[in-house]
């Protein structure tokens, strides 16, 4: 009754006299079993990405055929598009639509591309995609380095693209493409070697690690159990109810019902309410080029936000190639980079709708239509959905500057 201890000195260890063919055969068998078990687990596992993303994908895979329009983007999209309001308003302007809000908190450009492919794979005959314009953040936030959320979108194709972009921007930005170092590993020999590696290569290496992590399904046990128990992510009712849309006010009510007082949005709202003058000042300044606005202050600057035209153009072209209309939307909560936006309008080859223009859309910047500096309130979302429907329906009348010159929709 002892814990097992292998010992070279123990009295009668197995004498191991391997034949090369036998060893190779057994290693091969172990690898084959390993791969088989992984494949079996992958087949039964609930979709990766956690209950929000996996749950939304799961809902989409089951109900995609009921929709022809998708809004894809970050929390700005999740809180800004009310599908039923959009469908109703679009119908009034002569466009038939049945839309779904695929907004996901803190999604970024590469992840967004991955999700778009998943969406299109599940529903190849989709009519149109409203795609939120995002920066590329080619580096990985060290705090979330092995978070399932960071890993799940690293399939072979997206990883290849991520590596290509990391190497490209690593070279272009040089020192501006900062290398993140874990302070606790500052004096480790591997950190010394990492410091010598060009930062783009380092970021590329991290993407590759995430690809391997995803392929090996590291830490996906919960998803496997969910799949085996037939529970999946259990979010179907929630997403079906409002076609994916969820207002921050509803979130607040859910939190209150659970006895939880605050989340990160509550904190932002408190800050927003406490200093509305600062918000209004930022709104006034937004027409200046290169202005950071809304959530800009929350984004880790060191992660290097890049306006990556090539990547957006590629995503647009891939979408069009599948017979789906691609509409790029710059939301009323986003920073301004006017020269880049001009380039999008000129060269993207898809419809670009801009709403980060307070002078054109003062109502979208009205404090009453805001939940915080970066997100619309429920009322703001209804309003925005209506004017988006109007602008989209009148797309042929949209001038080259991307700003529809029609009267705003009735409030």
């Amino acid at each position: 009754m002892h814990e097992p201890v292998p010992s070279a000195e123990s009295p009668a260890p197995r004498l191991y006299r391997p034949r090369v063919a036998g060893v190779l055969g057994r290693v091969g068998l172990a690898l084959a079993t390993f791969a088989l078990v992984l494949a079996a687990l992958r087949a039964v596992a609930a979709p990766a990405g956690g209950s929000n993303i996996g749950g939304k994908l799961e809902y989409w895979q089951a109900h995609a055929s009921g929709y022809d329009t998708v809004f894809l983007g970050s929390s700005h999209v999740l809180r800004a598009f009310v599908p039923r309001e959009f469908d109703r308003a679009a119908g009034e302007f002569g466009v038939a639509s049945r839309s779904f809000n695929f907004g996901l908190q803190a999604v970024h450009l590469l992840e967004q591309r991955y999700i778009l492919r998943e969406i299109l794979d599940a529903h190849p005959r989709l009519a149109r995609v409203f795609f939120e314009y995002q920066w590329l953040t080619p580096q990985i936030d060290p705090e979330n380095a092995f978070n399932p959320r960071t890993v799940y979108w690293h399939d072979a194709e997206t990883t290849e693209l991520a590596i290509e972009r990391a190497l490209h921007w690593g070279e272009k930005l040089g020192d501006g493409f900062a290398y993140f170092e874990d302070p606790s590993q500052r004096h480790a020999i591997f950190s010394l070697t990492q410091r010598a590696v060009p930062p783009g290569v380092h970021a590329a290496e991290e993407h590759f690690e995430h690809y391997l992590t995803g392929r090996l399904m590291l830490g996906r046990g919960k998803d496997v159990l969910k799949g085996l128990l037939g529970r999946a992510h259990g979010q179907t009712a929630r997403f079906g109810e409002n076609d994916g849309y969820l207002s921050l006010e509803e979130d607040e009510a859910v939190l209150a019902a659970q006895g939880l007082a605050r989340n990160t949005y509550s904190v932002r709202r408190e800050r927003f309410l406490a200093d509305q003058e600062a918000y209004l000042r930022h709104v006034d300044e937004l027409d200046a080029a290169e202005r950071s606005f809304g959530d800009g202050e929350w984004v880790e600057a060191g992660l290097t936000r890049v306006d990556d035209f090539e990547l957006i153009a590629r995503i647009a072209a891939e979408t069009r190639a599948r017979g789906v209309e691609f509409v790029l939307v710059i939301l009323p909560s986003q920073s301004a980079n006017r020269p880049f936006e001009e380039r999008l309008l000129e060269e993207l080859g898809s419809l670009v709708l801009r709403y980060n223009l307070p002078e054109r859309y003062p109502a979208l910047y009205d404090v009453a239509r805001r939940y915080d500096s970066g997100h619309l309130s429920a009322e703001g979302a209804l309003y925005f959905s209506r004017i988006l429907a109007r602008d989209y329906a009148g797309q042929h009348g949209v001038p080259r500057d991307g700003v529809p010159r029609r009267k705003e929709a009735p409030q």
Binding site: M1, H2, E3, P4, V5, P6, S7, A8, E9, S10, P13, R14, L15, Y16, R17, G22, G25, R26, V27, L29, A30, L31, A32, T33, F34, A35, L36, V37, L38, L41, F146, N147, P148, H187, A188, I189, F190, L192, E209, L212, L216, M217, L218, G219, R220, G221, V224
Partner: protein
């Protein structure tokens, strides 16, 4: 570099491949020395010099014993080794603690005192390798061991990477003879080592790392939890600390075993012990036997009256407590353990063998020990006195409510763990060890896949690394 990290697996594959590809013992040992130093530098290269200095000092001190015959000179050399090694340990590990405590005591006496603390980092593994080298100098001093002639061999003993950062504490008399002989691949129990590595990996990656984030909030803010939640948390910590530390030891033994070397066993199902004495014979065995042989015996604990034995025994446990860390909670841990040794010995003297009281206590041995260990874990794990006191209050005096809670369903996992653990204890899996090699290979492949999928996504450092 943690044993459960993928980069360790790559590191070890390279080490293993090159090691067995080398044909003679000398180059193999030099290779191991090189990779051991690299492994240490993967934590912090700045302290490698300190580690090698300690090794070099003890190497030459031991050679000095061989060349010096006068007892006085030998004692001076021993004092030099003890002072240097324990001096480094005390400086790096205890300087701030003693300075702060001293200043606090002076302030308590009403004297103005400020604590000139320093921003000192603890060199990883110092508590372990210091004890490795001390075992060598003391044994050579006592004439139980011949001084080794090869400096690289001695450096390899001190730096041997599987045991360097968190034990087991390896004695020179156990390891140095192994270096003298060429390791034969035919004598390596590859299956046993792989199985043990997998078991250790499961303990660390699947059990300990999953429990860690569940109980961290409890120890950070114990006042927010009810007594029921506190008990659930302590059950979880009970499992976590065992899985974390014994998992590390399993992987260390397995890694060394794959290279043809043995390391001393560190755990022997401690949670099935029925007394505190038996517990220490089964928990961190290499530490408790080290203190027994080099401290308790050296102070004469095994000779003389029972009272003397008890006092030296309790002093030993206090030092064992302080070995774990520089903080009053570790002193408290040591005091509790000391008290338990005194109580246990007194009980042994006063209550006759075979009496009803003995039979009852023996019957209740395991739960009583667990209850006592839970009390100890509070001190051991808490981040300071205040949290420790708060948690003890809730542990002893029932508190309902609380703003946070731990679900009782966690106890099902604890139960499942102990059922499996009990099966190992009873050796119910023995037959599996005799399956043929092909079936074994398939099982390892399947087990590896399951382990990777079910392991925690965040790899936590081993708890004992901080010591």
């Amino acid at each position: 570099m943690i044993f459960t990290e993928p980069r360790f697996l790559f590191f070890f594959l390279v080490v293993y491949g090159v090691y067995w590809a080398l044909r003679t013992n000398g180059p193999r040992k030099l290779w191991l020395l090189l990779v051991s130093c690299t492994f240490y530098c993967a934590w912090d290269w700045r302290f490698l010099g300190l580690l090698l200095f300690s090794a070099g000092l003890d190497y030459y001190v031991a050679l000095g014993f061989g060349r010096t015959r006068t007892p006085r000179a030998r004692r001076a050399l021993l004092a030099l080794s003890l002072t240097a090694n324990l001096g480094f340990l005390c400086f790096f590990k205890y300087y701030n603690f003693f300075v702060e405590s001293g200043a606090g005591f002076l302030r308590w006496l009403g004297l103005a005192a400020s604590a000139p603390t320093l921003d000192i980092l603890l060199p990883i593994g110092i508590s372990f390798y210091t004890f490795h080298t001390l075992s060598y100098t003391i044994d050579v001093y006592r004439g139980k061991l011949e001084p080794i002639r090869s400096l690289p061999d001695f450096a390899l003993f001190v730096t041997f990477f599987p045991a360097m950062v968190a034990g087991p504490i390896v004695r020179a008399s156990f390891f140095l003879p192994q270096l003298a002989e060429k390791r034969l691949f035919a004598r390596v129990d590859v299956r046993g080592a792989l199985t043990l590595f997998l078991i250790g990996f499961v303990k660390k990656g699947l059990v300990s790392d999953h429990i860690a984030p569940v109980i961290e909030p409890l120890f950070a803010d114990p006042g927010a939890y009810s007594s029921a939640s506190t008990w659930i948390g302590l059950f979880l910590y009970h499992v976590q600390i065992y899985c974390d530390f014994s998992g590390y030891s399993d992987m260390a033994l397995a890694t060394a075993g794959l290279l043809g070397y043995s390391l001393p066993k560190n755990f022997d199902f401690p949670f099935f012990a029925r007394s505190i004495g038996e517990f220490w014979q089964r928990w961190h065995i290499s530490l408790s036997t080290w203190f027994r042989d080099y401290f308790y015996f050296a102070l004469g604990g095994s000779k003389g009256s029972n009272l003397k034995g008890m006092l030296i025994g309790s002093l030993t446990m206090m030092v064992v407590g302080l070995w774990h860390g520089a903080g009053w909670q570790y002193v408290g841990f040591g005091v509790l353990m000391s008290g338990s040794i005194i109580a246990s010995r007194t009980w042994g003297m006063l209550v006759p063998e075979g009496s009803l009281a003995r039979r009852v206590v023996s019957f209740l041995g395991v739960p009583l020990l667990w209850w006592f260990l839970f009390w100890n874990w509070i001190l051991f794990r808490s981040s300071g006195w205040e949290q420790g006191w708060e948690m003890q209050r809730i542990f002893f005096f029932l508190q309902a409510g609380g703003t946070k809670r731990l679900e009782a369903s966690w106890l099902l996992l604890v139960l499942a763990f102990f059922l499996v653990h009990y099966a190992f204890y009873r050796d119910w899996f023995r037959r599996l060890a005799s399956v043929n090699d092909w079936l074994y290979a398939a099982a390892v492949g399947a087990a590896a896949a399951l382990v990777l999928v079910f392991m925690a996504t965040e790899t936590k450092a081993f708890i004992y690394f901080q010591f």
